[in-house]
Amino acid sequence: MKTDDLIAVMANDAKPAARFAIPRRLLLVAAATALAALAVLVPWLGLRDMGQAVADSSYWMKTVYTAALGLGGFLLTERLARPGSRSGRGAFVALAGILVLAAIAVAQLASLSSAEISAALLGSTWDTCPWRIGLLALPGLLAVLLVMRRFAPTRAALAGAAAGLFVGGVAATVYGLHCAETSAAFTLFWYTAGIALSTIAGALAGWRILRW
């Protein structure tokens, strides 16, 4: 086919395009990720006493932290879905979240004895928390990668990692509805580890399937 013919066919195919297609679809993915994680979480592990949770500042600390990582991932994904875009402020948001939580964790640990420090770091669920978050993120990861294939990421692995961070943050926020751990250090280590699992899975999968 000659290039001019191809252009004629494409002009014929020029329907009005959707505006803000990328952020809109990614927001849908966020909602789907949260719903899917919730649908798995409730019958599997159940919710904690939410009346008690919302009165507890540590619940909000965890929620704001995981939501910040999710937001950072969203912003990164939104940029990296486009050819030639730089990563922008998403990385800054995620990094700021980590630094703030690290500062809180240090402040909390400073006044504790070494036995208490170990209890604050490990809680009672450190060995299951990351895996559970990773598992809860899995449906969202599939969804976000499928959506990303419609877009045009030119750095496949990085775009996949950003997508994994995005849905990992959402899934970890949902996991906070179950988990009653309270220390900042626990959140910093094990929630972050769970989100990192999702990020790494996203990078590996993205590297494989986000080329076009």
Binding site: M1, T3, D4, P83, G84, T154
Partner: protein
């Protein structure tokens, strides 16, 4: 504006001496020096006016195209074809068989992935990023090809294909499309029928023709990607 008009306006840009160091969020210098040609490569850092002047008409066409204006979309793709052909020819050599295929692949991506352009950003930076991505992909595919055995001795006697704009690869890919899509595509492209006329000829509904055309284009792009994998 005619194609010759674009050429001269590029030339004027060149004579006025200018490409700026940076172009918004993107790697501007690389973009302008490579999409516009080697002539402007050595003159960085002079004002933002030239960039505006060059990107603005393309951007305006893109915005109209996104709004559903087929004529503006065709004009944009035609102008881009000229720029891309020069760009790839410079990278690969003018007689390289892959130049026209890369032009077509990039145009397909500009068309099918147009939702990924952020209208707050320069259009040309986005288009350049796609062109560069297709070029890198070609290098990768060639590396794969090089390791394959030679098919037959006849290749020794094969004549040089004269018309490099024939797009032989895409032609072959086209022949692999499902019958229905191929018929519709041929009606729309070769006989320059409108969607309505093509619908009447093929006995399909107008919306079915539109869907079929869109699917064909996507299939073409997928096949380009899946080759040599």
């Amino acid at each position: 504006m005619t194609l010759a008009g674009i050429y001269t306006s590029n030339l004027r840009l060149t004579l006025n001496g200018g490409i700026p160091e940076r172009l918004g969020d993107f790697g501007g210098v690389q973009l302008w020096s490579s999409l516009l040609g080697a002539t402007v490569g050595g003159h960085p850092g002079i004002g933002g006016m030239a960039v505006e002047a060059f990107d603005a008409p393309l951007k305006a066409l893109m915005l109209k195209g996104l709004g559903g204006d087929a004529a503006a979309h065709a004009e944009l793709l035609t102008r881009m074809a000229v720029l891309l052909r020069r760009f790839f020819a410079r990278k690969l050599g003018a007689s390289d068989q892959d130049v026209e295929d890369l032009v077509q692949e990039t145009l397909l991506a500009i068309h099918l992935k147009r939702e990924t352009w952020d209208s707050a950003q320069p259009f040309t930076a986005w288009a350049y990023a796609i062109a560069r991505y297709r070029l890198i992909d070609l290098y990768r595919r060639r590396r794969v090809r090089r390791s394959e055995p030679i098919e037959s001795a006849e290749a020794l006697f094969a004549e040089e294909v004269g018309d490099s704009s024939a797009g032989a690869d895409v032609e072959r890919l086209l022949s692999e499309l499902p019958e229905r899509q191929r018929v519709v595509l041929k009606a729309v492209k070769l006989d320059e029928l409108s969607t309505a006329e093509a619908a009447a000829r093929t006995g399909m509904s107008e919306s079915a023709v539109k869907v079929s055309v869109h699917r064909s284009l996507k299939a073409l792009m997928r096949r380009v990607r899946d080759e040599d994998r």
